[in-house]
Point group: C2
Chain length 354, copies 2
DNA sequence: TTGAAAGCGCTAACAC
DNA sequence: GTGTTAGCGCTTTCAA
């Protein structure tokens, strides 16, 4: 027992009348231990609530049981939900998650990654931010690749040609359903607003938006893509302003925000300008966190099952940390989204206007 | 250099032509090192981007540079904001935060705490949940106290007679200002809804609500306290239903939700029932996260400066981990809240009705 | 001002 | 099946 009163494996070994090896084996289920000794050891451990020192363990095993997760902003419910579900899965595997916010500040991200490396995280998961870009900035990529030499990296965007593992959200089918349904309900003028085309998730949504509407026979000018380099509700409001500058009050009847925050900003600005939702304009968004549920009116939204996403990630991590062979699974995994219809979208009120 | 290609302090020592002791001293600023050697060592470290293994370091120093933070639910922006600000402060001190959600499940919390103990977190911070109770359940308290023998514990509620350190949010002054302003604007019938009186934050808000209104001469029946054991928007909606059951449409003109989520639920349910906010009813809440800003109408809210809160916590942690003396500061620290008025509260439309 | 050497608490060959 | 022993990579006495 050390000075702080903490038990060590030696104390347990002594009390159970066995060697430390046997204690270690009994705890971890590695190697042979007779049933009686195992029970004895486990009983002592339980009785004294022995908790092995993770530092000593990590020093020898070179595994920490810790996942480093990098996100731009947990205050955004999308990332919070991602984290929450991952953490829940991780706990089932006796993993912890160190969550790092980097506020879209690549320098801060660099510092965080260095700290995570020191702490010997078993894997680095980056959700959102630079790894979502088609072209990751070279300086940032360099930081990641250096870390990647010792630590596997998972992203939700770019796999950089298989260097990292990407677990992506696939909105294609759900977006198609959303648009088909809107068409069915009489909408003929659409817009998708906000976001930045350099980002993979934005790019994919745009492509599918354009493709599906084209197939439905919607003309180019009625399938408006409005880029606005901002992913929060402020950006959504701004987009409505821009639409009104262009069309006056005759703006598209179906507006999709590039993510949930943008869609909420769109709603707020529409209401401010006297539009009724969904009577005058229908609105939809992505991400489908609890926010879509609580805003007024509640928001039609496309999002993945976060639990499923977390399971996919944990599944990869489990494979990654099994020392036996290297990782042999896919370098790009997809988790599909679903459409949840709520109050913000409905029939087009003047289906013959256009 | 070990098999994974990672540098050790031995490699650095060799390259710099000094002993490992000197390298250690140069890195950590402990003990004497001549200027030249120090510079030499630091140059080598920088050049090879040496990152000392935190396990080995922690094994000897018994400090991890990690804070364990326990919250019921990071998806709730209140906790997310708390975490974000703490993490930012922590990073400035080269600390990381391991965030643990326990979903109001004390058993899960127990498992998380055990894991955090193994990982040798320097301090345990619990925000929300059982530690907010005037009477912490004995089984939970036992878990905490056991952990507390090796690890200092900070809560935002109960200090359990000085056993833990409590950093509390003090809403008293801001709540007084809110009520005085409402009175000024003609409101004479008030309600504070949601929450559970066994929780310290709820209890304190109730006390102040009652005290201030009494002083303003508001009768007992016009300073309604409606308990509802639920802290989310669902609970807020439910409270409006209950008020309407009791008063019909003649409900109090000024309704305060016990927290932000509840207030948002109140707003949503009022709108659903055809009330206009703030024309018919004014609404206010607590917490004042970005949600208060983005909901429609934006919500008048009372909340602390989270940055300031985080600084207070980090300040304590810094003192706690300075080995020299034990912690000598206060066992209960307060961070004051401020009132932010927004669209949801305004004049009472029928100031002479009661 | 510097370095040799002894741990920190655990795991994993290896030998029995 | 079980135990002995040699590390893992750092810090920290202690002696020089």
């Amino acid at each position: 027992m050390d000075e702080k009163g903490k038990l060590t494996i030696y104390d347990i070994a002594k009390m159970a009348g066995v060697s430390t090896t046997t204690v270690s084996r009994a705890m971890n289920g590695t190697g042979y231990v007779s049933k009686e000794k195992k029970e004895k050891v486990l009983k002592v451990i339980e009785e004294y609530e022995f908790k092995p020192n993770a530092f000593a363990k990590g020093l020898t095993t070179r595994r920490s049981g810790t996942i480093g997760m990098l996100v731009p902003d947990v205050i955004n419910p999308f990332f919070a939900t991602m984290f929450t579900m991952l953490e829940r899965e991780a706990l089932d595997h006796d993993y912890n998650v160190i969550l790092c916010n980097y506020y879209n500040d690549n320098e801060s991200a660099g510092k965080q990654i260095a700290l995570l490396e020191q702490k010997q995280v078993d894997v680095l998961l980056q959700v959102g931010g630079p790894t979502d870009l088609y072209d990751i900035p070279v300086d940032y990529l360099e930081i990641l690749e250096k870390a990647g030499k010792n630590t596997p990296i998972i992203t939700n965007g770019n796999s950089v040609g298989g260097k990292f593992i990407a677990v992506q959200v696939d909105d294609d089918e759900a977006l198609k359903n959303l648009l088909a349904d809107a068409y069915e309900k009489g909408h003929r003028r659409f817009a998708i607003v906000g976001g930045d085309g350099r980002y993979i998730p934005t790019g994919k949504k745009w492509q599918q938006f354009d493709k599906v509407l084209k197939e439905l026979g919607i003309s180019k000018e009625n399938r408006k893509i409005l880029e606005y380099d901002n992913f929060d509700s402020y950006g959504g409001g701004k987009c409505v302003e821009l639409l009104m500058e262009e069309y006056g009050r005759d703006i598209p009847s179906f507006i999709i925000g590039i993510n949930e925050s943008v869609a909420i900003g769109v709603q707020k600005e529409l209401v401010k300008n006297g539009f009724l939702i969904p009577k005058d304009i229908s609105v939809a968004g992505f991400d489908n966190t609890y926010l879509s549920e609580i805003v007024t009116p509640s928001l039609t939204s496309i999002g993945c099952d976060y639990r499923e996403y977390a399971k996919a990630v944990m599944n990869i991590i489990a494979q990654l940390t099994e020392k036996k062979s290297g990782y042999t699974g896919e370098r790009e995994v997809r988790v599909v989204s679903h459409l949840v219809k709520r109050e913000s979208s409905s029939y087009c009120s003047d289906r013959n206007a256009h």
